[in-house]
């Protein structure tokens, strides 16, 4: 009988960053994330664009709205995990701010468009308003991994 906890020869791939919640840092982490996707997953250009744009919109929301009421911006984190078993890519973008009131009449058109893009470009998205911040979870299904030899590094 197979040992149930024998490690898979293909490990999950992971991308983890925490950066200042400002426009310049967001652009930097977006570019790094795009590079990580291209080196770890086998996706057509349209899918890559969709994923990078969706993640950007979540980051941009944090940079624009999370720390508005605070003297200095805090940080925003990105944690992406690709499951070698299910092929799902899950990206969680989290900040420790308090987004401006969720009054739809106050919502700027840009933010409304950003949220709409996240919904359209991903296979699932959830938005959590927590006591200590906001979390966006994006799911992208059916993402194939670049084949790797057992024991090869997959951390980024």
């Amino acid at each position: 009988m197979d040992a149930p906890d024998r490690p898979s020869p293909i490990a999950d791939a992971r991308f983890v960053r925490e950066v200042d919640a400002d426009a310049r840092a967001v652009a930097g982490v977006r570019n790094q994330f795009a590079q990580w996707i291209r080196s770890h997953l086998v996706l057509d250009e349209e899918r890559v664009s969709d994923i990078v744009l969706a993640v950007n919109e979540a980051l941009a929301n944090s940079a624009e709205f999370a720390y508005v009421t605070m003297a200095e911006p805090g940080t925003v984190s990105v944690e992406a995990v690709h499951s070698a078993v299910t092929g799902s890519l899950v990206v969680v973008i989290a900040d420790h701010g308090v987004w401006y009131d969720e009054d739809p009449t106050e919502r700027s058109r840009t933010r409304g468009r950003g949220i709409s893009l996240m919904e359209t470009l991903s296979d699932d998205v959830t938005f959590e308003r927590l006591a200590d911040g906001t979390r966006v979870r994006l799911l992208f299904a059916d993402c194939a991994a670049v084949p790797k030899l057992p024991g090869a590094l997959s951390e980024a």
Binding site: E46, V48, D50, R109, R113
Partner: protein, 113 residues
């Protein structure tokens, strides 16, 4: 690709060419560039995104606002092709009210003034 906004005139049409990524960081520069071009009162402003490799909602909002700013005697059209630019413009429905052409040549042919 470093972000850059350039402008040239082709007859009565002003072409605003953009290079690089248009996001919350660079969108204000794009807005400034388009505003300056529109300020000269051309009949048509073509925003050429052929060399743009990323277009965020912040950039799309600049296009929408510039289109509204074009006024009754002006017009704004966009050149874009590919998954990073024309696709988001279509997905968000912006192409329902802003004309989109895949190449600058096609745009120039269609906006002849």
């Amino acid at each position: 690709m470093t972000f850059a906004v350039g402008e040239k005139t082709v007859g009565n049409v002003v072409v605003v060419s953009v290079r690089g990524a248009i996001d919350m960081l660079t969108a204000p520069q794009l807005a400034d560039g388009i505003r300056a071009s529109q300020g000269r009162g051309p009949k048509v402003v073509i925003v050429d995104l052929s060399e743009v490799d990323f277009l965020a909602s912040a950039g799309m909002q600049v296009l929408v606002a510039a289109n509204e700013n074009a006024g009754p005697d002006g017009r704004l059209v966009v050149v874009a092709d590919g998954p990073a630019t024309s696709r988001p413009l279509k997905i968000t429905g912006i192409t329902d009210f802003i004309a989109l052409y895949p190449t600058l040549d096609e745009a120039l042919e269609n906006v002849a003034v």
